[in-house]
């Protein structure tokens, strides 16, 4: 299968494209339906954040094959305003917009690995990994 794919996120239809591409990778990796649903839902949340809070950016979708361990890694990157207080942004219900504030905290619960690197004025990179 294809090992990685980069998709740019500049409109709400790009968010749909990201969901569809992540679904396809998860199906090809033979993820269970539940795990497919979790990683696609997390991808949808982070793609929307990249668009709405980050002013647009990209996602790199990678199929991981570590011998017996297979998984999916998604890296979202933008050069937007950055997140000044990551701990606060990860609180359930915290939002600086008009969302529900459940995207970051909820996605963290849906995946196995979750990493945020963000600098104010420079941008944000969020990496999530779901093992099969």
């Amino acid at each position: 299968m294809q090992k990685n794919e980069i998709i740019s996120i500049n409109s709400s239809s790009d968010v749909v494209l990201v969901r569809q591409a992540v679904r396809q990778f998860a199906v090809e990796l033979a993820f269970s339906l539940i795990n497919q649903t979790k990683i696609v839902t997390g991808a949808s949340e982070l793609a929307r954040n990249t668009l709405e809070h980050g002013g647009g950016g990209t996602v790199n979708i990678e199929a991981l094959d570590r011998g017996t361990r297979r998984g999916l890694r998604l890296t979202f990157e933008d050069s937007g305003p950055g997140i000044p207080d990551i701990e606060l942004a990860l609180k359930d219900g915290f939002t600086t917009g008009n969302g529900l504030g459940m995207g970051l905290s909820g996605t963290k619960r849906l995946v196995n690995e979750f990493e945020i690197v963000s600098r104010v004025g420079e941008g944000t990179r969020i990496t999530i990994t779901k093992w099969k």
């Binding site: 239809s13 569809q20 649903t37 839902t41 929307r48």
Partner: protein
């Protein structure tokens, strides 16, 4: 412009979401439904999401908004057909969907709407009120 169809059946409005909706389409549905409820004086709204492969916090918020809005306009909203994997993921995401009535399928959803309308509309609990 792309839109999701709203069907009218007596006092009820029916919506079947069959596409992976982008956010603007979901917002349009919210607006269209609100307008249709007030124009038709509908008493119930049934939204079939059995074809939806995910519900994220945005769609969750839209569904909650529709339910809230319809209640203000004196109509009840029932969301039907959520796939089990979607429901499990929603709980872990942390969305409670409180304030949204749900039913397993269209028949049960219709029965719920009829019963919530009470005797004045000839509704019944068991969903066979086709008279």
């Amino acid at each position: 412009m792309e839109r999701i169809a709203i069907l009218q059946m007596g006092h009820f409005l029916l919506v079947t979401i069959q596409v992976d909706m982008h956010d603007h389409l979901a917002m349009t549905l919210q607006d269209d439904l609100t307008n249709r409820i007030s124009k038709t004086s509908a008493r119930g709204v049934l939204i079939d999401i059995s074809a939806l492969e995910i519900v994220d916090s945005f769609i969750g918020r839209i569904l909650a908004n529709i339910a809230k809005m319809s209640r203000i306009l004196d109509a009840e909203t029932v969301v039907v057909g959520m796939q089990p994997a979607v429901a499990i993921t929603l709980v872990e995401l942390g969305l409670s969907l409180k304030g949204i009535r749900t039913a397993l399928n269209v028949e049960k959803g219709m029965a719920l709407l009829r019963s919530s309308l009470g005797d004045s509309q000839g509704g019944s609990m068991d969903g066979d009120a086709e008279k």
